[in-house]
């Protein structure tokens, strides 16, 4: 076959018209994934339903909804509400014993002379009548719980219902400067929290770098059932002290950087300063006999009034040809002596253009607070602060999770996530006295989470 180039001489219009027509056809940007242009949604409703279940401990259900509405290109209004309901059992802080133990706490105050008909309070505790002092017009009812031998003491009557709401605003001041702020409110049957925050973020380098700073102020009030106990006093059913408040200021500065077309990284430092009541009013510390290790009395715990926390957080998103990796690390320390590291890894496996499967791993390790004690020893000086709350102890925890997500249409998604959390501390600390050597002073905490999410944008 011969290849012979042919070129023309004069110009008639077909070629030129065709060239122009082809250019016109190809100029319109149809080369996108979808046929019709997708209008950017102006309102997004983000909702979630959480089912939380700790083995033999607390169960919770929490629905939550967030609505974000773009009023115009520069302003967004945010509103959210959440409610949660917790029931179950929570550790008292006391140590287990080879002998049965009884714990009593204030339950209700009634006018003197009122007939008492109820015999049991929540969690299987028994109502006891506390003899009033002479001349008193009211009397206190206590709730008494007995824990069988060799059982980790739990308060089985734990329940809590919380409702929270927040409002926020985001405003673009210039093409690169953004302001945001908001208020939040949360109320439980024994706690109230109000907060306000404001933040600023500035883009540089053609939106490749963002520097941000934000401040949050929080004011909390604690009004526990039975009143606020005086620190390190003996646990009894007397009505306790008045409400206690806590004020906290937090500040965060961060830098987010586009590292490459596929990698986004962010580094942030936060500092927080809390003044006020930070003790758990329901938790106790056992004082034990120096030889037998048997509990001799139970004291209400006490935590310092001041807490300064710092943390450094590094987060990354990396886009592989179709999957995305999210990897983050956090280092934390505070002046209560707690130091912790957290590592979190998620791999979003994009199975086809629509649904994805995302396994998740989280590792957490913390050191104990300076005033954490498994128990106090009778005869030794009582320290200024002491808590047996294992949440302040040395432990490590792993989370294993799997999330499945599916888009509903171009801008909406439904997803479900299941996770398993396993917290493990030292249940047999060295130097345990007497009967405590055979007890598990820190049972593992195992929890399952089932989370349904539905995001709808329009």
């Amino acid at each position: 076959m011969q290849l012979k180039a042919k070129t023309g001489t004069t110009t008639p219009g077909v070629r030129r018209a065709l060239a122009a027509a082809a250019a016109g056809l190809l100029a319109s940007g149809h080369a996108k994934a979808q046929d019709a242009p997708v209008e950017q949604p102006s309102t997004t409703i983000d909702s979630a339903l959480l089912f939380y279940h700790e083995v033999n401990r607390v169960q919770a259900i929490e629905p939550e909804v967030n609505v974000s509405h773009k009023i115009d290109e520069d302003s967004t209004f945010i509103f959210g509400i959440a409610a949660d309901s917790l029931t179950g059992a929570t550790p008292l802080g006391a140590v287990p014993s080879t002998l049965p133990q009884t714990y009593v706490r204030p339950y209700k105050v009634i006018p003197l002379g009122t007939p008492v008909t109820v015999t049991s309070a929540s969690g299987g505790s028994t109502v006891v009548i506390i003899p009033p002092p002479t001349g008193a017009k009211t009397q206190t009812l206590g709730a008494s719980t007995t824990v069988p031998p060799n059982t980790y003491p739990l308060d089985r009557g734990f329940y809590d219902q919380r409702v929270a709401a927040h409002l926020g605003w985001e405003q673009a001041l210039t093409q690169t400067l953004k302001l945001d702020g908001g208020v939040a409110y949360s109320k439980e049957h024994d706690y109230r929290s109000e907060s306000v925050h404001v933040g600023l973020s500035q883009d540089f380098n053609a939106h490749n770098t963002t520097v941000s700073a934000a401040v949050n102020y929080e004011s909390n009030l604690s009004f526990p059932i039975g009143g606020t106990p005086a620190p390190l006093t003996v646990m009894n059913a007397d009505w306790k002290g008045p409400d206690a408040s806590l004020h906290e200021v937090d500040a965060v500065v961060g830098i987010t950087q586009v590292m490459s077309r596929r990698w986004l990284a962010t580094l942030s430092y936060s500092y927080s300063d809390a003044h006020g009541y930070q003790t758990d009013p329901y938790k106790i510390v056992s004082v034990v006999d120096p030889v037998s290790g048997q509990p001799t009395e139970q004291l209400y715990e006490s935590r310092p009034d001041l807490r300064r926390k710092q943390s450094l957080f590094f987060d990354n998103k990396i886009h592989l040809p179709s999957d995305v990796i999210a990897a983050s690390m956090r280092a934390y320390k505070d002046d209560w002596g707690i130091k912790s590291v957290t590592a979190d890894l998620r791999y979003r496996w994009q199975m086809g253009p629509d649904y994805y499967l995302e396994p998740h791993l989280r590792y957490y390790s913390q050191g104990a607070a300076a005033f954490f004690h498994y128990y106090l020893v009778s005869g030794e000086a009582i320290p200024e602060y002491a808590s047996a709350d294992t949440r302040l102890a040395k432990f490590h925890a792993q989370t294993y999770g799997l999330k499945f997500g599916m888009p509903v249409d171009e801008t909406s998604e439904v997803n479900v996530r299941i996770e398993y959390y396993d917290q493990h501390g030292n249940g047999s600390p060295a130097g345990a006295i007497g009967q405590l050597q055979q007890q598990n002073l820190f049972p593992d905490l195992k929890a399952f989470t089932l989370l349904f999410g539905f995001t709808y944008a329009f």
């Binding site: 706690y191 907060s195 987010t256 886009h319």
Partner: protein, 98 residues
Amino acid sequence: MKNNCNLCSPNLLCERRVDATAPTMAWLPKALLAALAVAGSSGCTMLGAKPWEHDLLAEHSMQIDSYPLETTIDDHIYFSKEGSSGGRSFAGGGCGCN
């Protein structure tokens, strides 16, 4: 050559382009490359992506906090079971659970 930038003078803008992996640097893992760029800062803007290269970054899953509601719920759960808190940002409103 614009694309072959090993060392940058303070005034030279080195464009990080998709095709600009200079042969001599092809063996360096990208993470190390970025770390070197940050460490050896001499005013050289080697990090980032051109505006038309922000396609992947615009995807929902590439936002730093792509599922904020989940993050809030997670943070709340961990706050009530562990001794640390915060780091990322603050969820509005405390609770009496720690």
